[in-house]
Symmetry: C2
Subunit: 136 residues, 2 copies
DNA sequence: CCTGAAAGGTTCAAGCCATAAATATCATGG
DNA sequence: CCATGATATTTATGGCTTGAACCTTTCAGG
């Protein structure tokens, strides 16, 4: 791997850190951690643990911990899945839905990609999508 | 923040995860964790804790922990800094230098950006560099 | 001098994260 | 029906990561 590629990897990680900081900064205003905020953001509707972990881009075992905290805080509930007794269905409580709404507003305030024009963002999007290895 | 930007953020995090997995996969062959491998990779010569933390893109307190493990493994030494008694100088042991050499070889084997042509990598490099907010 | 602000490191608490192993349930082929 | 493998989730463990608090040393003014 040439030095140029290693430099790109560093930049990718740097930008990812920047995005993470952006989320963390806003999440803390609602008493949430970055991971909890990510989970809440991805909970667009009832879903299973696996699906949430997939959307959060993390291992299911990690999602368990994050959901534990959100549940004990009253943000969501773990209900038995209607058709699959192995799975659980995550449902936002009314309080959780309110919290999610406020979170989305906070996250919308500023973009961590503000330095790029929409055209540049388009190019970046395509490059990233092609760089990512498709996994089964 | 429009949905398009959120999607880009997801892609950036996805690619960062992929890069992290690439490092971890190779580091484990040497009995190292990803963070330890990153530290070892960045130790291009004697440097202070601050400088290493800066290169690793992490907090100094985190570098302390990672260096602790590398030190107790005999990979490096913490020496008093020649001119600043607050600082410490990190020096690779002979074993550490060997290990670093083998690590660099492993990391060179494959690129996590192999799906992109050199030209595309150039474009990506520029976009990322511009997207990253300069911090003092 | 000397005093206060700043910088280098470490420690601590809280939480994130991946891996491996365990449990329970499904689904398929014989 | 039953064995076997796959899937959904959890637990346990080791290590990473941040942010705040703390100590020492350095440095810039007064």
């Amino acid at each position: 791997m040439p030095a140029a590629e290693r430099e790109i990897c560093g930049l990718v990680n740097g930008l990812a850190s920047q995005i993470g900081a952006h989320v963390r900064e806003r999440a803390v205003k609602l008493g949430l951690t970055a991971a909890q905020a990510t989970a809440l953001r991805e909970l667009t509707g009832p879903m299973t643990m696996s699906e949430l972990a997939d959307r959060m881009d993390c291992e299911p075992s990690n999602a368990t911990v994050v959901v534990d905290r959100l549940e004990s805080r009253g943000v969501l509930e773990r209900r038995p899945h209607p058709t699959d007794r192995r799975a659980k269905q995550l449902i936002l409580t009314p309080d959780g839905a309110d919290l999610r709404k406020r979170l989305l507003e906070l996250l919308s305030e500023e973009s961590p990609l503000a330095a790029l024009t929409p055209e540049e963002q388009g190019v970046l999007h395509d490059l990233l999508q092609r760089a990512i290895v498709r996994r089964a």
